[in-house]
């Protein structure tokens, strides 16, 4: 997918809780991204949003609600549910067909108006067998973490280091919801939510409105000094029942391989300069290192110990603080894209990694123990 679709502008607002209502927040980020691109609503061909009814303050058909405020009035617009990276892919595909020169892609989630994330993720459970036992994403993650530690000898300390790193990185991110200088002991000593997960290893419930403008190659040259190209993307869905799956051999590798293949990358551990990944539970970042091919199976903990993924490492992972620092459930995948774009453009401010970034990776996941994964490769 060589230089067909570029990201020409990005905007986000995020954090713990905003006094602005949903409309105002959605409008603000839409206006900001248009202003940054030097465009008006008339310049936008199509609008693809991402949102989920179950994470939408009790209003069904979410995109019905925010249609005009995201600039979609009398436009051909559509919506992806659950994973906001799907919206990026869909926007790119619409441009690739030649039907549109520009697409506004927007992820919307106002966490403060939702119940706890797990009240919502309980609704993924089939109503007959699993909902009654209270299966949620956090419970599935706890099962997965125990299995991961037992099979590969990964330690709780190694898992906790992810939280130390990401909540520390969050200090440099003005949009981060949770941040702080913690020690491994602090992380392990925080409240034990579902064994072996402790509170500081679990992502919060945040707000996040995230918007991007995509453009065709021709249009990108006209409007952007520093276009960031979408070089590859891939997704993959796993079987439904948690008990039917090997929770340590999931679909991330499939999704990543598809994205790498499209981007012509055969050695990701060398080619990726920075990665923004979705780690709602600290240990998952270690597992995702493996799935993304940054290290071999079972070696995520050791890779963490080596500093490979720290701010000064070979592949800094989540310099923004990742999802542990800020977790607007539906829009978090698209937020990873925005952070990756800022890194490539050298505009990440205090969280800019100390190296030249040519190629960046953005990852999203949702579902029990990572039932679905999506990966995007971005580059200059």
């Amino acid at each position: 997918m060589a230089k067909q679709v570029a990201i020409v502008a990005v905007a986000q607002n995020a954090g713990a809780e905003s006094k602005d209502n949903f409309y105002d927040q959605a409008y603000a980020v839409t206006k900001e991204v248009l202003d940054k691109a030097g465009m008006t609503r008339d310049d936008i061909g199509t609008v693809i949003s991402a949102s989920s009814d179950v994470f939408h303050g009790g209003i069904s058909c979410a995109n019905s609600y925010y249609w005009e405020t995201t600039g979609a009035f009398l436009k051909n617009a559509s919506r992806q549910d659950g994973e906001s990276l799907f919206a990026l892919f869909y926007g790119a595909m619409r441009i690739m067909t030649g039907h549109y020169d520009t697409a506004l892609v927007i992820g919307l989630c106002k966490g403060s108006e939702n119940p706890s994330n797990d009240t919502c993720t309980l609704m993924y459970a089939d109503p007959f067998y699993q909902r009654g036992v209270g299966l949620t994403e956090t419970m599935a993650a706890a099962l997965q973490m125990r299995l991961y530690m037992e099979r590969y000898g990964v330690t709780e300390e190694q898992c906790a280091k992810v939280a130390v790193k990401n909540l520390g990185n969050g200090l440099r991110n003005p949009y981060a919801h949770k941040k702080g200088r913690y020690t491994v002991d602090d992380i392990l000593g925080s409240e034990r939510l579902i064994d072996p997960l402790t509170a500081l290893q679990v992502a919060p419930k945040s707000e996040g409105m995230v918007a991007l403008i995509l453009a065709s190659a021709k249009k990108a040259k006209e409007v952007a000094d520093k276009p960031v190209w979408i070089k590859g993307f891939g997704s993959s869905l796993d079987n439904y029942y948690v008990g039917d799956r090997d929770l340590l051999n999931g679909q991330l590798k499939n999704a990543a391989d598809r994205a790498y293949k499209m981007a012509g990358i055969t050695d990701p551990e060398k080619k990726i300069d920075v990665a923004e990944i979705t780690e709602p539970y600290a240990f998952q970042e270690l597992m995702w290192y493996e799935g993304l091919g940054f290290c071999k199976e079972g070696e995520g903990g050791r890779l963490m110990d080596s500093g490979f993924t720290g701010m000064n490492g070979r592949i800094p992972v989540n310099p923004s603080g990742g999802v542990l620092a800020n977790n607007p459930y539906v829009s978090r995948g698209l937020q990873r894209v925005v952070e990756a774009v800022l890194q490539i453009r050298g505009e990440a401010g205090e969280k800019q990694v100390p190296k030249t970034v040519k190629t960046a990776l953005a990852h999203g996941t949702h579902g029990y123990a990572g039932q679905c994964h999506a990966v995007a490769i971005l580059g200059r």
Partner: protein, 388 residues
């Protein structure tokens, strides 16, 4: 524009009150049907598009998880498209763009709903804005009734005439459904029965309204190379149009209904259609309410504004008429919402490939399919043709 895309197979469940199957089994029935019909296997599929109504409908959120196995989607790239009532046609659009962009050669689109396991009107009430509108926009009929009244008033159409035309639509579609093996409501009704049926919300009566159905639909979209390779009779995608308008019901004109008019125009322009009534051979219009079907005829340019009741009563849109509409019995007889728009697309594909069986319109070459959603807010169109 983009690569040519065709539908090469469709699968439907027997729609209705399906208490004999679970929701995943219902989805699986449609998916197995399309694989049996095409001779393809799940291994052949490059990607899957899934969609349904909001999670409140059956109380399950992000249903692509729950149906991963039923859709044979494990290990595959996935998209999850939702646009309220127009979801079905939006799923078809997503699959179309996926193939047209060159990112896939075979895409499976699946729409589904098991409405008898939930409360559809309660769900639709939660679509309305919670502070001002939710109290009086209860479910779908209220909205459509207001729209019908607005329409009658705008063109000074005599109430009796509009009542007769609506009853005529109800009678003919209920008759049509007998020839559709998948339709839900199969009952003989008379003009008098429709006109005297219990009032739901004035002027809409019970027999003007669609049922709550359980049902699923699966459609396979293919690239031109794949069509050639598989040697299947294709229904080519000739045009895709979609528009949405204001959320607050009172903010926009629902008679000169811009989202419907412009969505159709976008699709017509792509398909090179100038006179839809003459050029189209058949249309599958999303008609949950008899009155609304007539309004769509006007918005889609099948007739002049205010003229549709006369045309209906002349038989212009019956199966033997100039432009047959909803020969399947339409949404009026079968409405599993998340699947309904995709069923319209599937029926259009069956018509232009000559596979519609007892409700086949002879020599149909060009067909329109449509779905509507939101608080009378979204309209989507897909036009299919037998020739590229």
């Amino acid at each position: 524009m983009g690569r040519p895309v065709a539908i090469i197979g469709v699968g439907q469940t027997k729609h209705g009150r399906r208490m004999d199957v679970s929701y995943p089994e219902l989805v699986r029935e449609a998916v197995v049907a399309v694989f049996n019909e095409t001779g393809l296997t799940p291994n052949d599929i490059d990607g899957v598009v899934s969609g349904t109504m909001p999670s409140m409908m059956e109380g399950i959120a992000l249903t692509h998880f729950y149906f991963a196995d039923a859709m044979q989607a494990a290990g595959k790239p996935i998209m999850k498209t939702e646009t309220c009532g127009s979801t079905g046609v939006s799923i078809a659009h997503t699959a179309y763009y996926w193939v047209a962009s060159g990112m896939a050669d075979l895409v499976l689109a699946v729409g589904h709903e098991k409405m008898n396991e939930g409360n559809s009107q309660a769900t639709m009430t939660t679509v309305a804005e919670p502070f001002y509108q939710r109290y009086f926009i209860s479910g779908a009929p209220g909205v459509f009734s207001m729209q019908s009244q607005m329409w009658m008033d705008r063109y000074n159409i005599p109430e009796e005439k509009i009542r007769d035309a609506a009853a005529f639509i109800s009678v003919t579609h209920h008759d049509d459904a007998f020839d559709n093996p998948y339709a839900h409501i199969k009952m003989k009704v008379t003009m008098d029965e429709v006109k005297n049926a219990r009032i739901i919300t004035y002027p809409v009566r019970l027999l003007d309204v669609c049922p709550n159905s359980d049902g699923a639909c699966a459609v396979i979209f293919a690239s031109k190379d794949m069509v050639k390779k598989l040697g299947r009779k294709p229904a080519w995608v000739k045009g895709v149009g979609y528009r949405g308008e204001e959320y607050f019901f009172g903010d926009s004109d629902k008679v000169v209904w811009e989202s419907a008019i412009q969505a159709a125009k976008q699709a017509y322009d792509q398909a090179g259609i100038k006179n839809p009534r003459k050029e189209l051979d058949v249309a599958e219009v999303y008609n949950p309410f008899t009155f609304q079907e007539m309004l769509f005829y006007e918005c889609f340019g099948f007739c002049e504004p205010g003229e549709s009741p006369d045309m209906v009563l002349k038989g212009t849109f019956t199966r033997k008429g100039e432009l047959p509409c909803d020969p399947s019995g339409g949404t009026l007889c079968t409405n599993p919402i998340g699947a309904t728009g995709l069923i319209r697309v599937a029926e259009a594909a069956l018509q232009v490939t000559g596979k519609a069986g007892d409700h086949q319109i002879p020599k149909a070459k060009l067909a329109l399919s449509h779905a509507m959603g939101g608080v009378d807010q979204f309209n989507g169109i897909m036009i299919l043709g037998s020739k590229l």
